[in-house]
Symmetry: C2
DNA sequence: GTCATGGGCAACCTCCAGGTTGCATGTTAG
DNA sequence: CTAACATGCAACCTGGAGGTTGCCCATGAC
């Protein structure tokens, strides 16, 4: 019996930009930094990276577009913080595909053995 | 206490191409197709997509490069199948970041409440 | 043999991601 | 007020991703 729900094309179109946002070493580094050190400004972040501040700002925009990060103004600074919900979303997607795969495997096993 | 292990830059450089490979709707579609229908040839796959056979072949190469898919010759056909290990890798990676986040949250909570 | 089918290869095109520099704007410190 | 700092904005450059077409090669069918 199949426990995994179908993966609709709509979900695919939602998932792709999410993974695309995760598919860059600098952006993953930003996520990890925000994870480890909590909310930070671009200036604070930029001392940890080799690329320019503007490049980081663009990356943060991409992450925000994907819903992985959120920003708020505090005085003259803009503070960025992680948005863990979308991270869980990505996680759930992979889980769903894995489930499908395990299902397919067990079906195959049943077919072969039975 | 912190249960999450550190996320090394080396792991970042490993994870980025993996997510990048997942960050395309067509490629996700390929994975789902291979998941649902088992190993298939490019010709078989291409009837389900609107892009050309060559485009799909390139996507499959990208997926193979990321270790998400594997191919073998069978007669005049090349059969592609899923490689679930790397999928689990990506899964584990997100889990690691989430763990870090949860750790950071609980540390913050302890700090605020304690 | 002959033909259709599956696949690799290569050239080519277009667009945008990722990066840079330079300058303008707003805000806090003294 | 003025200087220093954090950011926003815009123009610009370059490489590579994603797509196409056209052709050639191998293999299985007849």
């Amino acid at each position: 019996m199949s426990r995994a729900e179908a993966i609709s094309p709509a979900r695919l179109k939602d998932a792709a930009p999410l993974f695309a946002a995760l598919g860059d070493a600098t952006r993953l580094g930003l996520l990890v930094s925000l994870c480890a050190s909590g909310p930070l400004s671009v200036a604070r972040l930029s001392v940890r990276f080799t690329v320019s501040r503007q490049a980081l700002a663009k990356h943060l925009d991409v992450l925000a577009e994907a819903g992985l990060v959120r920003s708020s103004r505090q005085g003259r600074e803009r503070i960025w913080e992680l948005e863990p919900r979308r991270l869980k979303d990505a996680h759930a997607y992979l889980e769903r595909i894995s489930l499908h795969w395990d299902d397919a495997l067990s079906r195959l096993k049943t077919f072969v053995e039975g």
